[in-house]
């Protein structure tokens, strides 16, 4: 079974530039998550999709971050304009989304972003 795919793996940009990340979840997984992991910290949830609808985006800095999952499969996360403090690893995860159980989340390899 193919895992969660992400691209690019690395990205270096200057502040105020824009950047986009792509994620393709495990086939059949209805729930997709974007996390931000700053060096030395645990992952922080940015946004959670159930199919193509947003379940939770309470920690997404909406003035500069946006995400979409138009067809309920793959997803893009965009930052515009980027700030120095956005330097982090951006992890995508997916889960089956069973109703009665906390379903295990499976993570992609991440995109390491450096903002100069």
């Amino acid at each position: 079974e193919a895992g969660v795919a992400q691209s690019p793996r690395y990205k270096i940009i200057e502040k105020r530039q824009s950047v986009a990340f792509w994620c393709n979840p495990i086939s059949g997984h209805a729930t997709l998550y974007w996390y931000q992991q700053i060096l030395g910290q645990g992952p922080k949830l940015l946004i959670q999709f159930q199919n193509n609808g947003v379940v939770d985006d309470s920690q997404l800095p909406k003035d500069r971050f946006s995400a979409e999952r138009l067809k309920g499969v793959d997803s893009t996360l965009k930052i515009q304009p980027a700030k120095l403090e956005d330097s982090a690893v951006y992890l995508c995860a997916s889960s089956l989304a069973a109703e009665l159980y906390q379903e295990t989340q499976y993570f992609g390899p991440g995109t390491r972003l450096l903002v100069l």
Binding site: G42, P43, L45, V55, L91, Y101, Q102, Q105, F107, P109
Partner: protein, 110 residues
Amino acid sequence: EDKVVQSPLSLVVHEGDTVTLNCSYEVTNFRSLLWYKQEKKAPTFLFMLTSSGIEKKSGRLSSILDKKELSSILNITATQTGDSAIYLCAVGGGAQKLVFGQGTRLTINP
């Protein structure tokens, strides 16, 4: 606000030692606690503990959930250099949302 705290933040031991990593939480609508191992890439799933499964074991790794104390431990016996990683604890509340701790960086020296 939901909160997950891990301790210690960093641990260095010798190969063959046994280690215990701690995780405590304050989460509304607790559903499960998960342990992940993170090397130089994405976190990989280790265990999930729930009210109906408070103890899990896989090889040299084992984990126990204490719902009364709102905590969990992850034990690794006979450690090997390949166990060196960051170990993340995450707690699930409503709507399949996970709240992660800051992680414990474990280093196993030969």
